[in-house]
């Protein structure tokens, strides 16, 4: 009984950590611009696919990962510069639609460059699963959790300890006031895209050995990440992390205890229930107070 529960928990937390990282990317850009960046899933795809194709070319894994994350970062900046910035006078809905367009464009490009097949990435460390109290944990899950935790802590430090981080926060609270005190809000926006692209691509790299990767992996994972962000309360960092983990665990438990048929239904009803009783999500209220 306990082994079963533990198995579902491991499964849920692993995938939940990925959702959390994607949700954090959504949160970052949402905070800086109130735009929901639907190209977030594509950053994840770029991370995984670029790493796979670079290692296939003979680049050592670590270097390949760094290059892939850099590529995603550059793409994030390009996305902001050439798609979002020119339309800065447009309202938020228009910008959101632009990001949907950008995601389709990036996906199409990836399909041309890398083809349509699924690709495998090796586990970072051993392929041997770890056994704990009768449950099995993929060693890659530890990497997902560890790197996820490091990124979250890093982000917290970034926002509370660095001037740039504080500038992003300031812009999210009041754009006009931030500009008045000398913050270059366009630059901040660019930075938000960069950081969230990096987050997304790192998530894509660490999770690729578990899920495989392909040009369209970003669609569903991106959507689930968005659901996680909405459950947690758009704009809240803690909300994104909690929402992601919660979504992952609920999914796994539903698949295990109820029926795998209803797994997604349970996950998506959860968002209904949460938003019905707490329209701003689990942790959304705080942001409202700050604004």
């Amino acid at each position: 009984m306990f082994a079963e529960f533990l198995q579902y928990l491991f499964t849920g937390i692993t995938i939940g950590a990925t959702y959390a990282l994607i949700a954090l990317g959504f949160t970052l850009i949402y905070n800086a611009s109130h735009v929901i960046n639907f190209a977030q899933g594509e950053f994840l795809m770029i991370g995984g696919m670029a790493t796979v194709s670079l290692t296939a070319m003979g680049v050592p894994m670590v270097l390949a990962i760094i290059l892939a994350v850099l590529l995603a970062g550059v793409l994030g900046i390009l996305l902001q510069r050439f798609a979002i910035a020119p339309a800065k006078q447009a309202d938020v809905v228009t910008l959101i639609i632009i990001t949907i367009g950008a995601s389709i464009f990036i996906r199409g490009l990836a399909q041309l460059v890398w083809g349509k097949e699924y690709h495998v990435m090796q586990n970072f460390s051993s392929d041997e699963p770890i056994r704990i109290f009768g449950a099995v944990l993929n060693s890659q899950s530890l990497w997902v959790l560890g790197i996820g935790a490091i990124l979250v802590v890093g982000l917290v430090l970034f926002f509370t300890r660095t001037l740039i981080g504080k500038a992003i926060l300031a812009t999210s609270m009041n754009k006009e006031a931030a500009r008045l005190v000398g913050i270059r809000t366009q630059l901040v926006l660019m930075l938000a895209f960069l950081v969230s692209a990096v987050l997304g691509s790192v998530a894509g790299v660490v999770v690729a050995p578990i899920t495989f990767t392909s040009y369209d992996i970003g669609i569903m994972l991106g959507l689930k990440g968005f659901v996680a962000a909405a459950i947690g309360g758009l704009g809240s960092g803690i909300g994104a992390v909690v929402g992601g983990l919660l979504l992952g665990v609920v999914e796994a438990m539903a698949a295990g205890y109820i029926s795998s048929d209803y797994k997604d239904a349970v996950a998506f009803s959860m968002i209904l229930v949460v938003l019905f009783f707490m329209p701003r999500g689990l942790f959304g209220a705080k942001v409202v107070e700050r604004v």
Partner: protein, 384 residues
């Protein structure tokens, strides 16, 4: 007012006349319509299918075409979406006015087009697997892949030979997986095999450990069967190995491809599945009538596209060849004649198997056209 109408009619008549004159001059091409899932989640089906169609239409035209007329391939990409498939089928019938349709990569896409095809009375050779496409027989609908029912018969038969009578089933919720599940449950009942655990997963799932844990914890399960296609079964295979389940493991023909081996890696070792002989062309015995066809198709495809051949492309090969053979037998593109000719094709040896069609059987293959393969040392090995 009257003047404009007259002028328009005049213009229209002129265009129509010009069209007639032009078509009379050159040998009018035989139009082969196709809608395939070239991109999207089922692209691993549609992509090799389109490549195969393009390649053999070219080749047939170089050799002088069919009935002295060149073939013209008109194809659309339905992106794996059934409602797109329906729209494109409608376009092929109404505006492109094709003579025959060879296409429909997925069961969903095929079934969406079936009502249109039946209504328009145009021969349609589907490239999708599920048994519902040709059972019950639909007058104008044919298909080239073996049905999932045959796959289930072949798998459960092999299990019985090994003395297995209690199994766990895990299937995808997509069209292929759910149809395979239904067929497996039916066939299992007939064969006296008990399905003790019955789990599912959706196509975009990235972890099936929870479902497999349930199967593992079910008492009495002697073997596990996974019915699905795409990357899902590869993840199931990996999770299966990670959980350390050491029961015999079966996959369906939906993943019978080399790219599945690449994805699943070492985890695939020892699993069995029913597959087209295309995966083991060189292990076929010399007297196997399919050996030559299979080897030729593989060689030609790989030389032309510089990528590995797939069994799914072979469905398109057989579909096109059946269509061509029927048109030749009918001596025209008259739709009723072609339909009848298709229905009477006997002993066509294709890549997928030997086709013996009849008015009662619009598929024409039997379960033995599947070969049971086992993964040994990362390669396919012919078992029987």
């Amino acid at each position: 007012m009257l003047k404009t109408i007259l002028r328009r009619t005049g213009k229209f008549a002129a265009i129509a006349a010009a069209g007639l004159v032009m078509s009379a001059q050159a040998a009018e091409p035989i139009k082969i319509g196709s809608f395939l899932s070239v991109t999207g989640p089922a692209s691993f089906l549609g992509d090799p299918e389109l490549k195969t169609l393009e390649m053999y239409v070219e080749k047939i035209n170089e050799d002088g075409g069919v009935l002295g007329r060149p073939l013209e391939l008109i194809h659309y990409d339905d992106v794996g979406n059934a409602s797109n498939a329906r729209n494109f089928a409608s376009r092929l019938i109404r505006s492109d006015r094709v003579d025959i349709i060879v296409g429909g990569s997925t069961t969903g896409a095929t079934m969406a087009a079936v009502p249109l095809v039946e209504q328009a009375q145009i021969p349609f050779v589907s490239l999708a697997g599920a048994v519902v496409i040709t059972t019950p027989v639909k007058e104008w609908v044919f298909k080239t892949p073996q049905s999932d029912r045959m796959a289930a018969e072949r798998i459960l038969g092999d299990m019985k030979d090994r003395g297995i009578t209690k199994i766990g089933l895990i299937s995808g919720t997509g069209g292929f997986g759910s149809s395979g599940r239904t067929q497996t449950l039916e066939v299992a009942e007939q064969m006296g095999i008990e399905v003790l655990a019955d789990e599912t997963y959706s196509g975009s799932d990235t972890d099936m450990t929870a479902q497999l844990t349930n199967i593992r914890n079910t008492d009495g399960v002697e073997a596990v069967l996974n019915f699905g296609f795409g990357q899902g079964p590869a993840i199931v295979t990996r999770n299966y190995a990670q959980l350390g389940i050491d029961l015999p493991f079966y996959q369906s023909h939906g993943v019978a491809s080399d790219s599945f081996l690449e994805l699943a890696g070492d985890a695939a070792e020892g699993l069995r599945l029913p597959a087209s002989p295309l995966l083991v062309p060189d292990s076929l015995p010399e007297d196997d009538p399919q050996k030559e066809v299979v080897q030729n198709y593989k060689a030609e495809y790989e030389a032309r596209w510089n990528s590995k051949v797939s069994t799914f492309g072979a469905y398109a090969y057989d579909g096109l060849m059946l269509a061509v053979q029927a048109i030749e037998a009918a001596g025209s593109t008259d739709k009723e004649a072609v339909r009848e000719a298709l229905e009477n094709i006997q002993g066509y040896v294709g890549v997928t198997g030997e086709f013996n069609l009849s008015p009662e059987d619009h598929n024409g293959l039997d379960a033995d056209s599947f070969r049971i393969l086992e993964v040994q040392n990362g390669e396919w090995k012919l078992i029987n």
